[in-house]
Symmetry: C2
Subunit: 346 residues, 2 copies
């Protein structure tokens, strides 16, 4: 009696299709390798030898993240080439704010059926982000989970590991009253607030991806929603280790309202003048058409500011000039929160 | 006009429920902290200072993984308390086979709505695995993605980072003809082959989770399918750095057939006597009732062997005795693959 050779395939898992995707992915992954990478692909774990020269007390800094429902926009748009880039930049910023630079990254892709072209797009985006941030894509996992994921959906999760000398860790403990808050512009929503944004644009406004967002220039909704999450490593790297830099906050879910306090001592607060910068039209459109209050907008979206630097006042103008940053407020005595001056001018 | 305060909640994301879950999770996470952990919870990234004393060239070893469709069994069973434990043990084994011991772990939980009790169960399992393996749960991400995940489904992804001195890396390069293969028993399916197993038990046999698996003792299907993925770190740790240990293979997806060759030089092959151990009844039931051929069974399931040690022949009896391991075959000249001696006796 002939043995059925394809019982696993009948259960919905195609090992050959996985193999095809993995070979393409392997070629892409190698483009990210840095001198620290020791392992060949196909090892059980990825091996990385960090360069510890000049470090007194090496500290590893790690962060895991996903892309949230920006993935559902990528699915609608039929374009998975950018979310991987978003993810690496997001993770890079999350460890940058503690003073760390990336060593390596690992990704996870889950889907009902792994379509090799889509896999290559996803990992291609991850690899581009890794190359731009000098970060090796050291490993990853791909999981075909038929029946778990809906058709065409892909989950994407990443973990970054970076390094910083202990004496150069940025933890906000040096923040003091009088420090200046400098903002670096975001490119749009980055990777937060997509559930709300999708409800407003698709459900309330009934828009399609090729429609122009009202009051937000001539870019399509697709361009607004898939705009890349920026990396702030190139801009901020020269400041790492400088005494002038007292704190950094990556503005993700929770907005300025929740993220700036994460680096403030309890006895201080941040006063932010919202008129200091122009809130991009895409956020204004969400607020207006979704009837979303100002307080919630500043807790869900970055509102145009992707990274906040907290800088010694006497160095603020130098740093502002070097980074082309926007002065958005200051640190003062308080209770650890953010106070918004809505009407104030610069 | 009153501002709508809950626009994000109406879009399906409950920040307060997330907060409740995160607090409970925070308490659990702290139980895993080891002396290397520097960061407080709520930092953007987790900080870990590795103990590098006695190491000439510290090498980091990292691996990312998921639990696959074992998650769907956990969902059916209404029991998410074990899959996190499975995941940490899986990842621990994946870096153990290169000689590394764990430093820290990061997890990711995704769901349509994060139910706080389920979150605590999931992370509780992760924390238990971390404690048993001496691994700090350094960070993680929880993502509510309404509309992306189906009701009651939870995705769980983990990344482990471990360390090994470069001279103690196990990469299979010392494997030679005549080496002995020792197997350590698995506890069941571990985390691989669930799509096929589910098809056979649920679709072909129409079984429920409380039914007894025919020919596999008196355990229920629930007990068979949720049996824990074992950690091999406690057993193998005393051997790390010993000259006798030439290679290690973690038997996951791909089975003995694909995983043993990952540590074999191309000019050698593994000859495995399948009569050396009794294949657990759960695998026999899958093969029989699913009409799955022997070759596919050995490529999808671990068949009762969770870890393979490749050991110098002159030391094999000592190691076998110390670990209570099973001699399952040997290494010989060949082409990098596995040859099964089906009928041979020990």
């Amino acid at each position: 009696m002939a043995e059925p050779k394809d019982a696993y395939a009948r259960a919905g898992v195609s090992i050959d299709a996985q193999d095809e995707a993995l070979r393409e992915v392997g070629r892409i992954v190698r483009t990210t390798f840095t001198p620290g990478v020791l392992s060949e692909l196909g090892s059980f774990g990825g091996l990385f030898r960090p360069d510890l020269r000049g470090m007194d007390e090496p500290v590893l800094v790690a962060s895991a993240d996903g892309v949230g429902t920006k993935l559902m926009v990528a699915h609608m748009a039929g374009d998975y080439s950018t979310v991987g880039y978003d993810l690496v930049n997001h993770c890079t910023n999350d460890i940058l704010v503690q003073g760390a630079v990336p060593l390596f990254f690992l990704d996870y892709v889950g889907a009902g059926v792994l379509e090799p072209r889509t896999m290559a797009d996803l990992v291609g985006g991850v690899a581009r982000g890794c190359r731009e941030n000098g970060c090796a894509l050291l490993g990853g996992e791909t999981a075909e989970m038929p029946g778990f994921y809906q058709k065409g959906d892909y989950e994407l999760v990443g973990t970054i590991v970076g390094i910083v000398d202990k004496k150069a860790v940025i933890d906000g403990s040096r923040v003091r009253a009088g420090d200046v808050l400098l903002g670096l512009p975001s490119a749009g929503l980055h990777t937060n607030g997509f559930s709300l944004a999708r409800r407003v644009f698709f459900d309330v406004l009934g828009m399609g991806l090729d429609d122009i967002v009202p009051g937000a220039g001539d870019a399509t909704l697709r361009e607004h929603l898939l705009a890349p999450h920026l990396t702030y490593l190139p801009a901020v790297r020269p400041l790492l280790g400088q005494d002038a830099l007292h704190g950094l906050a990556h503005i993700t879910g929770g907005g300025l309202t929740d993220n700036v306090p994460r680096v403030l001592p309890e006895s201080l607060q941040a006063r932010i003048r919202t008129a200091s910068w122009e809130v991009p039209g895409v956020f204004q459109a969400i607020a207006r058409h979704g009837e979303v209050g100002t307080a919630e907008m500043y807790r869900v979206f970055n509102m145009g500011i992707g990274l906040v630097l907290i800088v010694a006042s006497e160095e603020a103008e130098r740093v502002r000039s070097e980074l082309d940053a926007i002065p958005i407020g200051k640190v003062e005595e308080g209770d650890g929160g953010v106070v918004y001056d809505v009407g104030a001018t610069r």
